[in-house]
């Protein structure tokens, strides 16, 4: 174990960190939006779309993320070219984000849907009986009650997402893991321990910070003294 080497390569990872963070940020943001749409489709039992949503969630949850990445990277351009859409100029990062958005959207909808269903029907009826529109009801009553239930699951989803970025080097994205892979191959297979240990520290730090953020959000939403076992 070469401590000096460990500290020497650490800056390499720090400089690749923005790519990883960008991927995480957009995948989480659009993944969450997608999961909201999928949840909405399922809750409203929209014809045609609901069975498609089930199919999508089942596929995303049942196949490895690495496989999904390869399918998107190699398959999506072919699929879209059938419709005359050319995405060959897309960067590898873009393909990565698309994969993680699709993956995340399926997983998070399985967090949001039960959380939505956990809010008592009576809360809906009370708002309905007073003449709230669906949107007013969601914003003022349902979402504030759903959030504390969903947040731990969403937080776990974020951790998984961060870890899932570690496979993107397979298609050649030079993020933190990509740098590690390059370092290992350029040093003819030596110093692996130092390299991977450094990567582990970077992931640890990112996950730790994001987890702290989620925990803080949980604290904020806990103040509702909910009856259903979530009393602060």
């Amino acid at each position: 174990m070469d401590i000096a080497y460990f500290f020497k390569i650490l800056p390499h990872f720090i400089s690749a960190l923005p790519i990883t963070l960008i991927v995480i940020f957009f995948s989480q943001l659009f993944g969450l939006l997608l999961s909201i749409a999928v949840t909405y489709i399922q809750i409203k039992s929209i014809k045609v779309l609901t069975p498609l949503a089930h199919l999508y969630i089942s596929f995303v949850r049942s196949t490895p993320i690495l496989l999904q990445l390869l399918l998107i990277y190699y398959g999506l351009p072919v699929l879209l070219s059938l419709f005359g859409i050319n995405i060959n100029f897309w960067s590898k990062t873009a393909f990565s984000i698309v994969t993680l958005v699709l993956h995340n959207g399926g997983f998070l909808s399985e967090v949001l849907r039960p959380a939505y269903l956990a809010v008592e029907q009576g809360q809906h009826e009370a708002a309905d009986s007073l003449g709230f529109t669906s949107f007013q009801k969601l914003r003022r009553i349902i979402i504030p009650q759903l959030l504390p239930i969903a947040l731990p699951g969403l937080g776990n989803g974020l951790i998984y997402l961060i870890h899932d970025t570690s496979i993107l080097f397979v298609i050649g994205v030079v993020d933190v893991m990509g740098v590690a892979s390059n370092l290992v191959s350029s040093s003819y297979g030596t110093d692996q321990i130092e390299v991977y240990l450094a990567v582990a520290f970077v992931y640890w730090a990112v996950t730790y910070l994001s987890d702290k953020g989620v925990k803080r959000l949980e604290k904020i939403t806990e103040r509702y003294h909910l009856e259903n076992g979530l009393k602060s």
Binding site: A126, S129, L130, G131, T133, R140, Q145, Y224
Partner: protein
């Protein structure tokens, strides 16, 4: 004021309401009584579309609505002129007592926060719970929650108040405080449609009592007729079973 015409509703092929017509005049306190599973609550929930009737019409204050093809806007309009008090209170769990009372005034009626707050204080005072205004529902007893939910219903100044077995979920010693509040509201001339199993309360508060059985109205009339001079066997049989547990008191 409120006229229901030929309301029909079935759940999975079972007819729950078999063509009910009912009139509630302004200032009336109409009480629906009858055995459990008769459709009283369903009828009440049909009034404001928490349950969608299969068929029927409603005439309410100055507009008419056909249940089988009601538009979203019409449903909202109907709901904004009525308010419901639920058996299980259903206070908004993420809001304090006073926020519960303020909520619809701000969201639906677009009142300012200040105006809504002052209104709500007054209403909480009316139901005797000003000192609990900053408590969350989970910190209040059932009776207190129900009184708050009555204040919440009153806050939108509904043309009709719908009470769905407001005391059925309460401990016996808490029933009185809620009935007193309802009694007090009835005296102010509010129009009320009430489902209850508190027979002596129904007798004392109602201007009209409606006895329902198997999805139909068996008999309706002033309380004295229904409770003392009914000539229907089914009504008499039902009323034989009730116990007297409402003692009217003058103060809260």
């Amino acid at each position: 004021m409120l006229a229901l015409k030929n309301i029909r509703k079935s759940f999975n092929g079972t007819d729950v309401l078999k063509g009910i017509s009912l009139k509630v005049n302004e200032g009336d306190v109409v009480t629906l009584i009858g055995p459990s599973g008769t459709g009283k609550t369903t009828l009440l929930r049909c009034v404001n579309f928490l349950e969608k009737p299969d068929e029927g019409e409603v005439q309410f204050s100055n507009f008419q609505l056909n249940y089988s093809h009601a538009k979203k806007k019409e449903i909202l309009r109907l709901r904004r002129k009525s308010a419901m008090v639920f058996q299980q209170y259903h206070l908004f769990k993420n809001k304090t007592a006073i926020e519960n009372v303020m909520e619809a005034q701000i969201v639906v009626q677009k009142k300012t926060k200040k105006e809504a707050y002052e209104n709500s204080l007054e209403l909480l005072n009316k139901v005797g719970l000003v000192e609990k205004k900053d408590y969350y529902p989970s910190q209040l007893s059932g009776g207190q929650q129900q009184r708050i939910s009555i204040a919440r219903a009153l806050a939108i100044k509904p043309e009709i108040l719908l009470f769905d077995e407001p005391t059925s979920a309460l401990d016996p010693e808490l029933v009185g405080e809620v009935l007193n509040v309802i009694d007090q509201i009835a005296r102010t001339g509010a129009t009320i449609l009430l489902v209850t199993h508190e027979m002596s309360f129904a007798q004392s508060i109602s201007t009209k009592v409606v006895f329902m059985d198997h999805g139909e109205i068996v008999e309706e009339g002033p309380p004295s007729q229904i409770f003392n001079h009914s000539n229907r066997l089914r009504t008499k049989e039902f009323l034989k079973h009730f116990t007297n547990n409402y003692q009217k008191t003058t103060s809260l």
